[in-house]
Amino acid sequence: MVRRWIIGLISVLAMIPMLNAIGVELKGEPFVYADWQTFYVKDGLPNDHIFSLKADGDRLWAGTEGGLALYEEGRWTSWTEDDGLPWRVVSGIAVSEKTGEVWLGLFGGGVARFSGGRFDHFTQLNSGLVNDVVYGLTILNDDVWIATTAGTSRYNTVTGEWNIYTEKNAPMDEIWCYNIDSCKETNQVYLAVWGGGVLEYDVAADRWTDHHDPDGEMEIDLYRDDGLIHIITTSVSFIDRILWASTYFGLSRYDGRHWRGYMDHDSGLRSNFINFAKGRSATTVYNCTDKGLSALVDFETDTWVSYYRESDEAESWTAKISIGADTVRTQPVELTLPNHFIITCDFLGDDLWIGTGHGLARASGAGYWPGLKTGKTSLALPGREREAQP
């Protein structure tokens, strides 16, 4: 009798890995960027350390530690201090849809407007810019909004008026603005404030809304979905009325009512250290982490695709498809960047661009589909190896 019980117990235990494998079946197939092209100084970049990227129609601007670059029709053009760029480190780029002017955030050098081949330079000494250490900028209507290390500045390109937002006139626990986004539809500006969470500014109503980590503690996250994961926010991306906020402690999603938190132990995130997050839709966001790129491809099914190097010695990168933290499979991708510390990304049509500490890469989006493609009958795509994880 006892022996039968033991055998039965062992049989049940043996089935656990199988149950787990069954539990991570994909609900549909995510698009995996498999075809990549890399760019370095030898290809025309002014520097290999990429700080910022901005898609502009069918062109791509790249801000580097050593200058500005533009990719257009398969060629790079670059500008350095020798060409009139006021400061070498380009940490943010925004393009005016209305005028085509390119606004550059200069890390320690203020802001530059690039128009007609000329750079106009704005600093805290010659303008209303609150600080020369600029982390990001965005354009909403006629205003350029600039996130700096000591507050946010707003410059009206029509009237020339400057406004400054700090703890004096905004709910900034700290004034260390780290990134910024805006949305024409809502007429709002969204600020990632390091140590101050996320702020929303309703331009028409002149009203601020602040979001903080509800537990109020730096060393813990008390409950998973109780609010913003941490107040050390690094970027914010607003799209389809969804707010994505990255931190060095994980990712948060806010739909106006409910928060959802993601960390590396409970999701497909490669790391909690997220330099930058870019929303692609209400259900898709790309996260630039210190250990690769992690895309939440489909919010509803918690389907992720991460791109990373398996090791320093790996010749190319690996893509990992997972449901939450459970790996479904991995596959090699044709990406050879030597390091997966990803600083920034942007979408150029269906293509995906990523910037790292050493090199820039473009992934071809030929055949791209958003979210999940259902009804696929075969997972036996070239190079794919199905692998059930325990």
Binding site: G108, G195, I220, Y223, R224, D290
Partner: protein, 441 residues
Amino acid sequence: MTRYRTLFIAALFAGLAIGFAFAQDGAQPAPASGTYGDTPKEYVPFGNFTQPYKTFFLTPLEYTGYGRHIPEPEHVDTVRIGFIGPIESTVSVATGGVSHEEPLGVQMLNGARLAIADANRRGGYHGKTPYELMVHNDNGLWGASGSEIVDMVYKEKCWAILGTIDGANSHIAIRVALKCEVPVMNTGDTDPTFIETNIPWVFRCITDDRQMCYLLADFVFKKLKLTRVAALRAGNRYGRMSIDEFRDAAKRLGYPFLEELQYPLGSTDMRPQLERLKALNPEVVVTYGDAQESALVLRQMRDMGMDQWFIGSDRMVSDEFIQLAGDALKAGKVAAGFPFDPTRDDPKWNQFQDAYREKYGESPDQYAAHAYDGMTLVIEAIERAGLNRALIRDQLAAVKTWHGVTGDKVFDAIYTNRSPATLALLEDGRFNILTQDEVFK
């Protein structure tokens, strides 16, 4: 058999009860819980109610970038290390329009310079190239520390940076350092949150206000067995952040502050706030602020007949405080946290004090001593790593324990020193430094 079992269980319960009673009665420092920051169990956030979903800062921060592959330059004339600290008298927005930190910054600079001089006396980098300190003033104006770091990295090509003291400016500096990928050693900012940002480029060798607050809370609530605490602190970021862990500890022990008031920097009349506190009949007034304001609070307390215990930060432990407080010290009942034990007989510490006095004609304070230690740690890391910022960072991150002029340093997973704080207790008009064992013996 049943009878023996009953007796055994009864004896076990009796033993536990006796042990519990002793534990409750004795004045003991709170036991470390093995959690982040050596936080005593009773001070763990929400520890009385639940386990957090995630606890951070328990595993070493990693740097996974490309920096290690950058080749060492073939030649440098000097090996430059940046220094940023409040060394000139400037009015600071970050400190509320008043700057009192220059004396601390000057001591910090002196300590750093002494470490550089010692290294150069040994022959400099690898015995061949002199070290050079690139000195920048942290004027705190409009976040200027960020631009100073940018200059040190891109214009002066510093290999590492030491600084600064003000909490806001330190935070600004390290965010820039993260982007620029340069190691920063902090020796003077005791703000607990400074290090709680997950930046793998930041190190701190001074015991912070988390450790000092835990000790002060233990002293007030367990040693003195007082429960009615009111706070009057500086209205700047230093006052707000540094008192944080003391306030939380009080709350978690069940003795929340009766009141917490603040004063704007530059205030000379604290009486309106003190009148309110006096009406609450506190047993302890706790303050966090610079030496000058802390002395003012104490003087006006005593003038108003308030003879409560006066508890404060390590910035009180200075000649400036003693001089300004004057007769108000006679009543005693003054204590402060302190980041190390300067009374120990340690040849390294004694030698440093002699050298410092010989060079600068005064005794080193905690800012000078920790700057010497921090700069020495940086130089040792450069010697081991070579001229590569990421490798220097790795060498600093590899240091788990280290003995400097300020004693034994114990670095945790996020590279901040967790060696025990000490208590500065006013006796006969001067501060005596007590170790935790001495406080609770």
